[in-house]
Amino acid sequence: MAFGTSVDLTSNTGGIVTPNPFWLASAPPANSGGQIMRAFDAGWGGAVWKTLGTPIQNVSSRFGALHFKGTRAIGFNNIELITDRPLEVNFREIAEVKKRYPKHGVIVSLMVETRDEWRDMIKRSIDAGADGLELNFGCPHGMCERGMGSAVGQEPALNEKITSWAVEFSTIPVLVKLTPNVDHINPHGLAAKRGGAHGVSLINTIKSLIAVDIDRFVPEPRVAGLSTNGGYCGAAVKPIAMHMIGSLARDPDFGLPISGIGGVANWRDAVEFILLGCSSVQVCTEVMLRGYRVVGDMIEGLTEYMRSHGFSTIEEMRGKAVPQFSEWGELDLNYETVAKIDPDKCIGCHACVVACHDGAHQCIHPAPKAAGTRVPVVDESECVGCNLCQIVCPVPDCITMAAVDNGFKPATWNEFQSEGKPLRPKKGAH
């Protein structure tokens, strides 16, 4: 059934319709009309214009990165602020882009203070032809100290109030961009909803200190002899982003469209975000590191995924993983797995042995010398099914976690608490 499914990538996020779900996030890659037009040529479906407000003065340097084992910038951090270009130039370019690319989505990110400023900026954005607005309530550095950005996003009442102003002034969809620098995301998403937002986008960057120069004793990025906290992003933040997106997506009181942001670097990431409820995804860091051209593979990969899974529209696949994102208390305590090592695939590196011995429950052992093999032995009576061995194994599909029929009926923690359902004996707890 999968083969031959015709696939339509059209994305609709709260009324903002784009040819595909891949948008440039509001950030340096979406700083100017020339850039955005090149991005559209490369295949991007939409772009959230670098945040407009009262133009600021930036510092040098602005970026820092987390490198790991030879892979550069698995995490990224910036202390750049909103646009530093004159507003009239930005609005003129927005108009030009929309004129040349009428089918692509241009969303204007805004960050100002007073009601009058919001009214003015929204009007100018709509006049320029914007398809939607994104209220930047997320920036965790520089602007929040001035009472904007995450200072708004962290305060639900303020969020709701300013959102309601924007919705009042706007004739186009309004998205609220949420900050992850909160203890729980849902109250902030609900505040945006109460304010009348048509959707939310998340996550903005995470407050961070990316590195310390160990010779100069100065954190990075270094500005003369000092540094400051920045916003963390890139591949490494994806789990945090997905948790927050999933939390809102499964909240029955929420229900707004979501534009997902945070560590999306390829089509697989995009699929995960869409399965967690996103209608579109926004990308910044991967483009900053590798350029607009990465979208070609994203489009192709997503299309092929949809085709092979029998999805013909984004809406059909959207949120498919949300019902399975549950609470710990709903997990089956009697479900048991043990590690199985495929002797034909095993290369004998003993990564699982050392990981199990030092980091888990001491149940994977080297084969006895007489056995003449380096394929380790799993003591299944001790294996707690934790999964660590499978994670460290360098060979795809060599270690699998096999379900064990232990004769116990499913029992969750909640059921155990309320009904006293019998639990299987603990393993590895001696």
């Binding site: 030879g70 095993c346 290369i347 004998g348 590196c349 003993h350 990564a351 080297p366 060979v395």
Partner: protein
């Protein structure tokens, strides 16, 4: 003429900064001439024209390769290393930028880590054990990573080991190759006085005189010897034949223990008509000549190397490198039967080396008093000459790589020490039948790799230390 000749012998004659640095590194070296100063090698020696067979890695390559390592536990690569270098650990230290720690890990296990990185047949040792081989991925370039680290350690003279407090005991080491030097280094870490007696002029044994120059050049080998001697307190007597110039009894009287690491003897000769002709040489002797000096191969267009072992394979590749246009390996067996490493022979074939299998020389052909070729006969499956299958192979140079003489009379008069097939019989600790005499390296193992010599020298040093410490506490 034993013992320090503080003022008598000719010492370091060069006064350049490198020579001074090497001299400082070596401490007191007693000799009739400099033995470890690479500056004293002729600049125009023939080996200088050879390129690197496995070029050095740059920092970016080394980092990328180090990051590929899976950091195996109980790693097969370590198990395959005779000196048991903790390979995953030194590679991890490269990946974190802890190069000095990486070199310490290597050199603590194997003080000849620099030359072993270059000359080890890694394909059949550590790299052959890499688990990546099991998943059809390229194995980690362990030798090249080890070279990356140890080159830096030697170039920047990173030093880790100091002599232990003087034990009052003394060990004599006969032979100046890797086995004796590794043993002496280990013994100095434990505070025992050491004197090396070498019959030749240059220290380092075959590392200096015999390794193929595309793997290790003599000047680098000597720099490493200087680095090893840098622990201080290793006296060196060169040009001394123990057993001939100095008796074993005298040596035993002078030292608490002896280590024998004299390697193998001279190249064997083919006892066939014409063996006295010019243009015939032993392969080991010839290799030493072009490594330490200049050889003139002006009249040599065709060369034949007789033999099928690793010396033969080295020799044919070296002759190609020296510009001989037609090089042939002549062996009484065939490709499957030869003992030379398969990967080395493969490389030789790629370089254009020819082969004559199942062939036995019966006489040298003479022209104008020089060798002009070999008269040969084909051998049958039973290794017997086939009637009517005789032919001539033209060659202006014939090298013999059919083995080296064994020790025989060298150790005659050393009570309790036994030989078998020319090899010294030793136990797992390198101990001979004489409780004060230990041995290691080629003279005991019959001719293996540098890394085996280092492992055996170190192992014997540890056993000697245990014996000396036990007897001291009595």
């Amino acid at each position: 003429m034993l013992g320090p000749r503080g003022g008598g012998g000719v010492r370091w004659t060069r006064t350049g900064p490198a020579a001074r640095k090497a001299a400082r590194a070596c401490g007191r070296v007693y000799d009739r001439g400099p033995m470890v100063d690479p500056l004293n090698l002729p600049e125009d020696r023939s080996e200088a024209g050879f390129g690197d067979y496995k070029p050095a890695l740059g920092p970016a390559q080394a980092l990328a390769e180090a990051n590929r390592c899976l950091y195996c536990a109980d790693a097969p690569c370590v198990q395959k290393c005779p000196t048991a270098i903790d390979i995953p650990e030194f590679i991890r230290k490269i990946s974190t930028g802890n190069l000095k720690g990486s070199a310490r890990t290597i050199l603590d296990a194997n003080i000849f880590g620099m030359s072993c990185a270059r000359v080890c047949p890694v394909e059949v040792l550590c790299v052959g054990g890499c688990v990546y081989n099991e998943m059809d991925a390229p194995p980690i370039a362990i030798g090249r990573l080890q070279r990356y680290v140890t080159d830096a350690a030697l170039a920047e003279d990173w030093r880790y080991f100091t002599a232990g407090p003087a034990s009052g005991r003394s060990v004599g080491l006969v032979g100046g190759g890797p086995a004796s030097l590794a043993a002496a280094h280990e013994l100095r870490r434990r505070g025992h006085a050491c004197t090396i007696y070498d019959a030749g002029h240059w220290l380092g044994g075959l590392n200096t005189t015999g390794v193929a120059p595309y793997k290790l050049r003599a000047d680098d080998a000597l720099a490493e010897v200087a680095y090893v001697l840098g622990i201080g307190g290793i006296a060196v007597e060169s040009g001394v034949h123990i057993g001939r110039d100095v008796g074993w009894d005298a040596l035993l009287a002078r030292h608490d223990a002896l280590f024998i690491g004299v390697g193998l003897g001279a190249d064997r000769v083919l006892d066939i008509p014409g063996k006295q002709l010019a243009g015939i040489d032993g392969a080991v002797a010839f290799i030493e000549k072009f490594k330490l000096g200049r050889v003139d191969l002006g009249g040599v267009k065709r060369a034949v190397v007789v033999g099928g072992g690793n010396t033969a394979v080295d020799a044919v590749r070296e002759l190609v490198g020296l510009g001989v246009s037609e090089v042939t390996m002549l062996y009484r067996g065939d490709e499957a039967a030869m003992s030379g490493y398969e990967h080395e022979w493969k490389a030789a074939k790629i370089e254009g080396v020819r082969s004559l299998w199942h062939t036995q020389p019966t006489a040298y052909v003479e022209r104008d008093g020089r060798v002009a070729g070999l008269r040969c006969v084909k051998l049958g499956a039973d290794k017997r000459p086939l009637a009517g299958e005789e032919f001539e192979v033209p060659a202006e140079l014939v090298l013999l790589a059919i083995g080296q003489a064994r020790l025989g009379e060298l150790v005659a008069g050393l009570g309790g020490v036994q030989l078998e097939g020319g090899r010294l019989i030793v136990d797992a600790d390198g101990a001979t039948g004489n409780p004060r005499v230990y041995a290691g390296g080629d003279c005991a193992n019959g001719g293996k790799e540098v890394v085996n010599a280092v492992a055996e020298g170190k192992r014997a040093a540890l056993a000697i230390d245990r014996a000396l410490t036990a007897s001291a506490s009595k």
